[in-house]
Symmetry: C2
Subunit: 132 residues, 2 copies
């Protein structure tokens, strides 16, 4: 099974523009072309793209993703480096999750504050003082 750039883009919620941009940045080193020069996305490419999107969606900068791509192109001699990069990033993602959980709790508390009708008067009072 193969896909055009637009089909691939659609599957990952991206645009063809963005995929070409990623290609230019070196994030799609394995995508090949057909006789007309158009990009052809294979299932392997789609799996690769899935990892790229995973890294991007978890906040890894494009430069760092490119480093991973460069290592992949170099072959099995770089497996330790790649593993280390992913492991360190995974740790970072777990940290992000904890941070988001803490922030979600703060939001819950704030919403709860607004939900208590007794606080409405307090908000008015605090607003007069200059904060809530």
């Amino acid at each position: 099974m193969t896909y055009t750039i637009n089909e691939a883009a659609q599957q990952f919620g991206l645009t063809a523009h963005t995929l070409r941009f990623y290609d230019k940045e070196g994030l799609l080193p394995f995508v090949s072309r057909n006789a007309s020069g158009n990009r052809v996305f294979t299932d392997d490419d789609m799996n690769w793209l899935k990892l790229i999107c995973c890294l991007k969606d978890t906040g890894m900068p494009i430069k760092e993703i490119k480093q991973y791509c460069d290592w992949s192109k170099q072959g099995s001699s770089t497996i330790e480096e790649r593993k280390a990069l992913l492991a360190s990033h995974r740790k970072e993602v777990l940290r992000q999750i904890e941070a988001l959980k803490a922030n979600a709790e703060l939001l819950t508390a704030k919403i709860g504050f607004y939900e208590d009708p007794g606080n409405v008067r307090l908000v008015e009072e605090l607003a007069r003082r200059g904060a809530d």
Copy 2:
């Protein structure tokens, strides 16, 4: 207890530049000045800033945070709007957490793949074919 702009910035891992930028954007509508015209951060202001940072760190754009600030300045007539904004954003944060969890699992799987020595040969083979 009050704080200078630098003390406030430090407490939230920001710079004074960033706090002035937030002020200019309307995110700190309650921070007042001393006789010299310098910003004075009260404990109320620090709590306010904590919420602003929570919204910012969870990906809310500055424009939307400003909307919340504008509503707060308007007083208790906007409590429903504020509550709705926070509730909707909280939902979005929970969605983010789930997305990050899924991505963390993908990373775990990928790291596990690299950890199995049998896969190293596979990586070499796949690299020859143009993907891994």
